[in-house]
Point group: C2
Chain length 218, copies 2
């Protein structure tokens, strides 16, 4: 026996760092409901062209934000009768992370500081809050914030990104010790940054395109 099927969508929380501030990409809605309002980029699952929902999320990210090949992980699935005025709905939310350079400027999108992304339509405030918690949480035990940086970066840049995401000051020495222990980054051979004031820094890249995380024991 079959049942009426709920609306099924994906929504993406795309984080980036703009002006040293943790920010999120919003999209101006082209359709009802909430036409003209800014919301999380999202869209229907296209069963004819998407192999799975992660495919849908990547398609949405490419179509609506011009962003591809970024770190993407499933966040949570938000469901219920009340969250969308059209119908009982399911949205599979994804969390994406990209360096600002990879997010093109577009008329239909804007990059806003996380703290200013409130009052969004649907339950997007809740989705965003959960995504922010996930990101901050993973910043304390994984390499996730590293995906906010371009291909190569310096240690001070990496540390700064962790500080921006967690909102806390980190000690240089301890930070290096722990990232070394995780082996999350590797030096890019014999390349240094030049031209700035002070001693030029060694460049690094992420050791892995997947996440590195600590294990904790009870």
């Amino acid at each position: 026996m079959e049942y009426p099927r709920p609306l099924t969508m994906v929504d993406v929380v795309l984080f980036t760092i703009a002006d040293d501030t943790l920010s999120v990409v919003l999209e101006k809605r082209a359709n009802a409901p909430f036409r003209g309002r800014f919301a999380l980029p999202g869209g229907y699952i296209h069963v004819d062209e998407d192999e799975d929902a992660e495919d849908s999320a990547r398609r949405v990210l490419a179509a609506k934000c011009g962003v591809s090949d970024v770190y993407l992980e499933q966040l949570y699935t938000f469901t219920g009768r009340a969250r969308d005025p059209r119908d009982w709905s399911v949205t599979i939310a994804y969390c994406a992370v990209a360096p600002a350079q990879r997010v093109p400027a577009r008329a239909s999108t804007k990059i806003v500081p996380l703290t200013e992304a409130t009052g969004l339509p649907f339950d997007h405030d809740r989705i965003l809050a959960r995504a922010a918690t996930r990101l901050r949480d993973k910043a304390t035990y994984s390499s996730l914030p590293g995906f906010l940086l371009p291909e190569t970066f310096t240690y001070p840049q990496l540390q700064r990104v962790y500080e921006v995401v967690t909102g806390e000051h980190l000690d240089t020495s301890s930070f290096r010790r722990k990232t070394l222990e995780l082996r999350m980054i590797e030096p890019v051979s014999s390349t240094q940054e030049r031209g700035a004031r002070g001693r030029p820094a060694q460049l690094y890249r992420l050791a892995d395109q997947t996440l590195r995380a600590y294990q904790r024991k009870i």
Copy 2:
């Protein structure tokens, strides 16, 4: 513009401990596909009666396993064209944890050791694997395994549950120190277990019906 909607379901991985072994509840499928085979308990979302998908999961758990008021958390959403022969499908998987006493014996269900729950239909092996990873992971930094025990329990029982879930031997002294630090349990006033050999143990209960977890810092 609307798109054809995928099939939308929930599946539940219900963990329990039977004979000192981490086990999972399977249900004999009453309908096609895979009629007669054992699989994870699951079912369609009923948009007319369920407020949200967690509601659906609790309804499924009550209807198919006779289990209610248990710890339940969303695990992951499995999607795609290939995972169900009927259609492009979405299943929101939940992870549930209950003491064996609360899982009634039924003709249509069976409790099997986790290690023997393989070769399940659909992608249920994958779902189960992810659930097991989640449970074992949370056993290292949260009170989750505590929900495998009845209302009140002793310290040795609690430690045993953690050992069964993680598969590792734990030191009594360290275990007590850490659970104290988390403040996850509290003594039940002036009640002791009696009758067994040896010194009777103090009874405890979980301090909280929600999860308690450590924070680690990078």
